[in-house]
């Protein structure tokens, strides 16, 4: 048996397997929990790297689960977008849990830490599953695993804010998956298939016979995935959930979980639904306007926050807007910008949340007013914060600039300079809330709370440094990742 043939399945199965081994390890040999978790995610990351080379050299391929060819079996599809998303998820996820291995010790009770790794590995497996599966019902099952695991890593810290935020998140994501399941029912009714490729083939005929079915299904899909991805008017659960959770959870939820649903939406809208249907309805236009509102209003809410993690959470609402802006504009450059922003935002937002976690670890302070002058006492995390903040604003040589640049170009390509203006305005708004923190951190006298911070352990500093280097590196050499993103966009647009 050739192991490398089965990598598309193993990338999901290995973390899933170790997730269930973890409670046993936590009971009998506690010191093995962290290495095992890291090992499982490193394996998935390695598998994603290997598949990336394979896809870049020989083109997209698919894997049949249990050797059952579609439409009978479940198909995993490995193309440019899916390997790109798998790389992002496992790469960023690895750094976050590496950091978390120390940070969690002070945020959680010692008896639940083993369970945290279980939930984290389940989350990793389900997110990878969502992006690489080519079967819509399989995607639904991964959605539910992802929903429970992501609520779990919030509610594991048993403070009353966390429990309440987790409940709110759970109810809304069940609503979202309900809408998604209903959409699956309506699509299956008219096509008789669950596989993306076969559905896409059957839909043009079905569109003529049953246009209403498809319209309702499309609406339910956009709303269902919109709730889970926190697209603007459906974002109500996000600020509480992302700000109250333990810092590594906040980082993974903001950086990866909401993006996964965006990837799912991109694949469904571009690969499954016929182009004529999207032309017939104003769905893309609606996504565009929701994204615009998200960008502006999310930033405005962020300006008035005093809690650093709440501010970052509102900023995530704005940033997911960029991804959907790229989806809605339907031009090549804009789609490249949107997909690239999935990766860029994953690196910079996880960086910022981890720095916020480091501040809380070091000083116990989470109010922005108490964090003045922290640059004098905790220099390395503060510099990392500066890099993340500059990238959020979109200053050149950081990766945030590249994705905004492509989005702006894309808006001009389709002759809608209004959206270029939106991107510029939102950069200014980002500047309004990120830059004062940076200025205050270095140029104010240290506040009482931050005078004598606890020393950060190496396990927390190294991931922060690596993420900051990543943000700068992919800002200076974007071509490394643009190659795959361009091919992904061309595949999606059918060029």
């Amino acid at each position: 048996m050739n192991l490398s043939q089965h990598l598309p399945a193993l990338i999901i199965v290995v973390p899933l397997f170790f997730a269930f081994v973890m409670p046993l390890l936590a009971r009998w040999c506690k010191q093995w929990c962290v290495p095992t978790t890291l090992g499982a995610i490193i394996f998935s990351f390695g598998a994603a790297v290997k598949m990336t080379f394979q896809v870049m050299n020989t083109g997209p391929f698919s894997y049949y689960m249990g050797n059952w060819p579609p439409p009978w079996g479940i198909e995993l599809s490995i193309d440019y977008l899916t390997v790109f998303a798998a790389l992002t998820i496992n790469g960023v996820g690895l750094l976050i849990i590496w950091y978390g291995s120390k940070d969690l010790l002070h945020e959680l009770k010692s008896e639940v830490i083993g369970w945290y790794y279980t939930l984290y590995l389940l989350l990793m497996a389900s997110m990878t599953g969502i992006v690489i599966t080519n079967d819509i019902f399989n995607m639904f099952v991964f959605f539910e695993i992802c929903a429970i695991a992501s609520c779990g890593i919030i509610s594991i810290k048993e403070s009353r804010d966390c429990i309440e935020a987790a409940f709110k998140y759970l109810v809304l994501s069940v609503l979202g998956s309900g809408a998604f399941l209903l959409a699956i029912a309506l699509l299956y009714m008219v096509t008789g298939h669950l596989n993306f490729t076969f559905m896409a083939e059957a839909l043009p005929d079905a569109m003529v016979l049953y246009p209403k079915n498809l319209l309702v299904a499309l609406g339910l899909l956009v709303v269902g995935l919109g709730v889970k991805a926190a697209l603007f008017p459906l974002h109500a659960w996000l600020p509480d959930a992302h700000s109250s959770a333990p810092s590594p959870s906040s980082a993974v939820l903001s950086a990866l979980v909401i993006k996964v649903y965006a990837v799912a939406m991109i694949r469904l809208l571009y690969l499954v639904f016929p182009r004529e249907l999207l032309g017939m309805t104003p769905v893309m236009e609606m996504i565009l306007w929701m994204a615009t509102l998200a960008i502006i209003i999310g930033s405005m809410f962020a300006i008035v926050q005093d809690d650093i993690k709440k501010m970052l959470a509102y900023s995530s609402i704005a940033q997911i807007g960029y991804v959907f802006l790229g989806v809605g504009l339907m031009s090549e450059s804009a789609l490249v910008g949107g997909i690239l922003h999935i990766f860029n935002h994953a690196t910079m937002k996880s960086l910022l949340f981890l720095v916020a976690g480091a501040f809380i670890y070091g000083t116990g302070a989470r109010k922005l007013s108490e964090l003045k002058g922290i640059g004098h006492t905790m220099p390395i995390p503060t510099i990392a914060f500066c890099i993340g903040a500059f990238s959020m604003v979109g200053i050149p040589i950081t990766s945030g600039f590249i994705s905004k640049w492509y989005l702006a170009l894309g808006a001009l390509d389709v002759g809608r300079p209004f959206f270029t203006a939106v991107i510029l305005i939102s950069s200014l708004l980002n500047g309004i809330y990120y830059l004062p923190i940076v200025v205050n951190a270095f140029f104010s006298k240290p506040e009482e709370a931050v005078k004598e911070p606890k020393q950060l352990p190496r396990q927390m500093l190294v991931p922060l440094t690596l993420l900051s280097i990543g943000v700068i590196f992919f800002g200076i050499f974007p071509s490394l990742i643009l190659g795959i993103v361009y091919r992904a966009a061309q595949l999606l647009l059918g060029l």
């Binding site: 929903a147 429970i148 309440e164 609503l175 209903l182």
Partner: protein, 127 residues
Amino acid sequence: MSITEIVLRLHANSYYFFAILLFIIGFHTMLTHNNLIKKVIGMNIMDTAIFLLFVAIGYVRGGRSPILEPGVDHVFINPLPTALILTGIVVAVSVTAYALSLIIKLYKHYGTIDAEEIMRIRGGGSL
């Protein structure tokens, strides 16, 4: 379309009609009730409605369960939606269990399971 025609059509598609009716009842319960347990019940009614709709898709009038017997030729129902919904039910059960355990924790922290009351204790925000 005359009234009789509408009634006949509804009768022919009664599974779908009642599924949607149940869905609306569940959704309404979930949105309007403050009691968290009732919210979870509404969530379950909603899920059940979707399952009913999904299973109804696979039903063929006069069809039998798809067990093949040599030499006998029958009309069979489509087994795929049934199999899928089995998975769906498992998922719904686990989500319900998790939601109820969260409610127990909420009750321990706040001493109430009323969403408005919890909101008042927290001071602001919405559930």
